[in-house]
Symmetry: C2
Subunit: 368 residues, 2 copies
Amino acid sequence: MKTELSRTLGIEHAIFGFTPFPAVAAAITRAGGFGVLGAVRYTAPEDLARDLDWMQEHTDGLPYGLDVVMPAKKVEGVTEADVEGMIPEGHREFVRETLAKHGVPELADGEASGWRITGWMEQVARSQLDVAFDYPIRLLANALGSPPPDVVQRAHDHGVLVAALAGSARHARHHADAGIDVVVAQGYEAGGHTGEIASMVLTPEVVEAVAPLPVLAAGGIGSGEQIAAGLALGAQGVWLGSIWLTAAEAELHSRALTAKLLAAGSGDTVRSRALTGKPARQLRTEWTDAWDDPAGPGTLPMPLQGLLVAEAVSRIQKYEVTPLLGTPVGQIVGRMNSERSVRQIFDDLTRGFEQAVDRINRIAGRSS
Amino acid sequence: MKTELSRTLGIEHAIFGFTPFPAVAAAITRAGGFGVLGAVRYTAPEDLARDLDWMQEHTDGLPYGLDVVMPAKKVEGVTEADVEGMIPEGHREFVRETLAKHGVPELADGEASGWRITGWMEQVARSQLDVAFDYPIRLLANALGSPPPDVVQRAHDHGVLVAALAGSARHARHHADAGIDVVVAQGYEAGGHTGEIASMVLTPEVVEAVAPLPVLAAGGIGSGEQIAAGLALGAQGVWLGSIWLTAAEAELHSRALTAKLLAAGSGDTVRSRALTGKPARQLRTEWTDAWDDPAGPGTLPMPLQGLLVAEAVSRIQKYEVTPLLGTPVGQIVGRMNSERSVRQIFDDLTRGFEQAVDRINRIAGRSS
C-alpha cells in the first residue's frame, strides 16, 4: 500500500496510527505503518523524554511521529490558575452533584488528578516540542488548528513534516496557507474533535482544496475495506485512532472501559462538548448525557470545560464508575469486538485491503 | 461496473438513481443505470399512471423502479382530517407568524397546496401500488421501514424486487426478516431521512448484517471516486439521490432553489425535523432554523409536522421566498456546482470510477 507520502516517509503501508500509548505506536511502526504518539497526556517533559527513549529503542530505526495539541492563537501569560478562576461556581456544583448522584468517591488527600488538560495549553505543548526535536521524529501533527508559524519553521528546520487535522475544506486551505505539509481530513464519524461533514464527502473536498498537498483520510476507518474506500476518495494514506484502543498493547486505565468499548455499537457514541468544551465524539455515557441535557447548566468553552471536569474524569476512571466511564472514540467502535495485538490488527487491515482491491477489480471488470 | 445485483436487473452499471422527476429517472435508465421514480408527490393515481406511461415510452425497454413511502404499521381508518385535528393551534400560529415575518403571500382562493404529504399515508401508497404493478417495474423501494408483508408478497408475485432504506444494522436485519430483497444503507450524510451513522461505518455494518442480501450504499455519493468507495465497502451498487436535483432534466419548482443548490457548500445542510417530523437532511434555511430554535415550539411528530407545514412550503416555493426556500439534499450538495445533463453526470460518474480504480491499483501495486 504505497503512495507518494508513504515513499517520502519510507514506510511499507500508508497506514498512520494515532495512539497515546508508546507500546502501540512502536508496534504500528514495526508492523510497517507509521506510529504517531499522542503527547497531550504528558505534563512533565521528562516523562515524554522517557517514552520517546523507549520508542527509539523499540522501532528498529523505522519512522514515527508525535501529535501535540497546540492552539494557533497565542494567549500570553495565562496560567492554569487564571483559567480556573473563570469557571462559574454553578458548574462546579453541577460536577459535585453529578458525581454524588453516582456515588463516586473522592481522590485521597494529596492524590493528583491523573487526567489533565494542561497538555492543551501552549506552554506545555512547547515544552513537549523542546523534547521532541531531540528525537528523530519524522512527523509532527497538531490536533487543534495550524501550529504557530515558528513551530512550523522549527519542524521544517529539523526535517520534520507537519500535519494538521481539518474538518472542512476551508479549514484545510487555512492549513495549506500556514505551510502545513500533510492534512488529516477528520470526518464526522471520527473519535475526538470532529466537524459535521462525513468522511465520504469531506475527504475528496479536502483533497481538491489543498492539492497537491497529501491528505490522510480519518474517521470511520478500522478495516481494510474502509482503507480502500479512503484511498479511493483520493487520500494518500489513512489515519486510524480508535481501532488501537482495544489492542492488547493498549494500556487503558481500566478493564471496565475496555469491556465497554468491546461491547459498544456504532450508535453508542455522541459528539459532545462534555470533555473539552468543543464537540468531540466519545462513548455516550450518563456523564455526557448530563452535560448534553438541556435542563443542565451546559458545557463551558475550551479550555474551561476541560479544567472543570479533569478531576471528575480521574475519579470516574480510578473507581471504574461504569455508567459514567467514557473515552473519545469514533463510530468504528461498533466493529471493535475483540482484543487483538497491534500486529494482528495490522495484518487484518492489509489483508482486508487486498481483498477490497480484488473486489473492486472484479466489479470494474479488470483482470487481477 | 457489474455486480450480482446489476446482472440480475440487467443493467450496465450498478448505479441506482432516485428522483421525483420521470425525465431524470428515464435518462438514468437510458444511460445504463437504474432509474427509480419517487412516487410520494403523486396524490392522484392517474397522474402516476400518466408518468409511468411516459417512462415506459422513454426507457427503450430498459429496467426502472418505483419508490413509495409506506409505513409498516397500519393505522386503520385514519383520515387526513383526523390527523389535521391533532395539530395544536400554537403550532399553526407559529407557521403564520414565521411566514408573516418574511412577508410570504397567501395562496389565491381555491388554489390547492401543491406540496402534499398525503403520499406518506398508507391508503395513498396502496393506490400508487395498484397503478405501479400494471407497469413492468423491476424494483419497488420503500423509504419508511419494511413494507407490509402483503405488499412484499404482491411485489414478489409480480417478479418485482423489494428494496428498503436502513440507517442502522438493526434496521437492516429487520428488513431482511421481512423478506426484503435489497437493503439501501442510507448514511448520515444522505439527503432526506437519515440516521446518525455515516456511510463509511454504516455500509460494511449493513453488508455484514444482511449477507448474502445485496446492499446499496447511499449517502455522500456524487462522484466516481465515491462510487468506488461505496463498492469497496462491500456494496453491490450505489444509490444516488441528491446529485440529480441540479440535472438539466430536473423540474425543480423554482430557479431560485436551483441557484441555492448550486451555491451551497457541504456544510449548508442540516438534519432537521422541520419537514416531516423525523430527522431529514435538507438545505439549512431560515425556515429550518425557526423550527430548530429552542425558543420556538419545536416540531410535531410524523405525520403531523408534514400536514402542518404543507401549505406553508407550497407558498414559500410558489413565491420563491429565498431565505426560507429549501429541499431535502445531502452533504454532496457541496460538489453540485454546475448544471449538467443526466447523461453528462452519468459519464462523469463512470469515468471517475475508472480513474479511482486505476488509482487504487497503483497504490496496491497491481499492474492495470
